[in-house]
């Protein structure tokens, strides 16, 4: 009777430890999951960081020769100019939330290695006859020869 009991307690102990460890990791990660432009500037973070902001309508530009995307994001208080060579998905558009992985290269500018598009959790059907409008990025890229 002793052998399985010991094995059980060791097994349970390991699982509990793994569980607590993962929770702790998720909590610490989550607390710093992203910063806002205001936090980035006041704390003057220069290391690699995740940044969240809303794409300012009308600010998106595509530079074809250098294959660089630039746009401004805002958290309502602080604006930031973003430069990226990594392209977001078709959901990317004016006024949508984006999460950027990268670093601040100069005050007020951010170089993003990755642009993730956050979904708004609002769902509206297409009306009959309508199609999904082409992505902003596709339109911009088509417009620049």
């Amino acid at each position: 009777m002793n052998r399985p009991r010991t094995a059980t307690f060791v097994g349970l102990g390991l699982i509990v430890m793994a569980f607590v460890g993962l929770i702790a990791i998720s909590l610490t990660n989550a607390l710093v999951y992203y910063v806002t432009p205001t936090e980035l500037q006041t704390r003057s973070i220069t290391s690699s960081v995740r940044l969240y902001g809303i794409v300012e309508p009308g600010s998106v530009r595509w530079d074809s020769p250098s294959a660089t995307l630039t746009f401004r994001i805002t958290d309502g208080t602080t604006e930031m100019l973003v430069e990226s060579q990594s392209l977001p998905t078709g959901l990317f558009r004016d006024g949508i939330g984006v999460i950027l992985d990268g670093r601040s290269t100069a005050p007020g500018t951010f170089l993003a290695d990755e642009v993730l598009v956050k979904h708004s959790a609002v769902y509206q059907p297409l009306r009959s006859g309508e199609t999904v409008p082409p992505g902003l990025l596709d339109t911009l890229r088509a417009g620049t020869p």
Binding site: A30, Y33, L116, P125
Partner: protein
Amino acid sequence: MPMKARVSTFGLLAGTALAITTIVGLFVVPADAAQGDVQRIMYVHVPSAWLAYLAFLVTFVSSVLYLWRRELRFDRLAIAAAEIGLVLTGITIVTGAIWGKATWGKWWDWDPRLTTTAILFVVYAGYLLVRQSLGDRYRRARLAAVYGIVAFVNVPIVHFSVLWWRGLHQAPTVIRPGDPSIDHTLLFELLASLLSFTLVFIWALRRRTALEAGRDAADLTLGPGT
């Protein structure tokens, strides 16, 4: 494969309901105005996630009942629900990854919702492993019940992760205070899909519990030395 096809009326009903809501979700309801067709993944991703919650709730309640009444039928319900919950959590994670790639631009990210869901999966995989490692039927039931109660703490953590912490995953659309932020046609299909998933869940739960009962009957008949 020597397998008798024993399809009950209820199983047939559940399968038909699932087929109907799948066809409606894929071909009948309009696409989302912003996301397009990829939003249709929601009709399988969200019900899978909710029913995984429900499955683990069943495990939690039947674990409590086992410790109280010490009747193995509660333990059999607990293992059946946990196993189905694990399958549904797996489906949730994979369909979520596919949707994430199309929408966010990434298959996986250590976002709070995704991380806590991965933990949920590991914890319930651990539940099945712990059960397998225990030979004594009654000790297995007792320890599994304790585990099944403690593990349930994860479910509210997963659900509220999108509200408690900053992340990539969007906040709840339907289970939240106020009107759901989803158009009612799309919401109707989501709830219809939820209903058919629920029927499939109930059917699988009954069948999986009966399997466990059959095992117990065989094992207890075989007696010592086996």
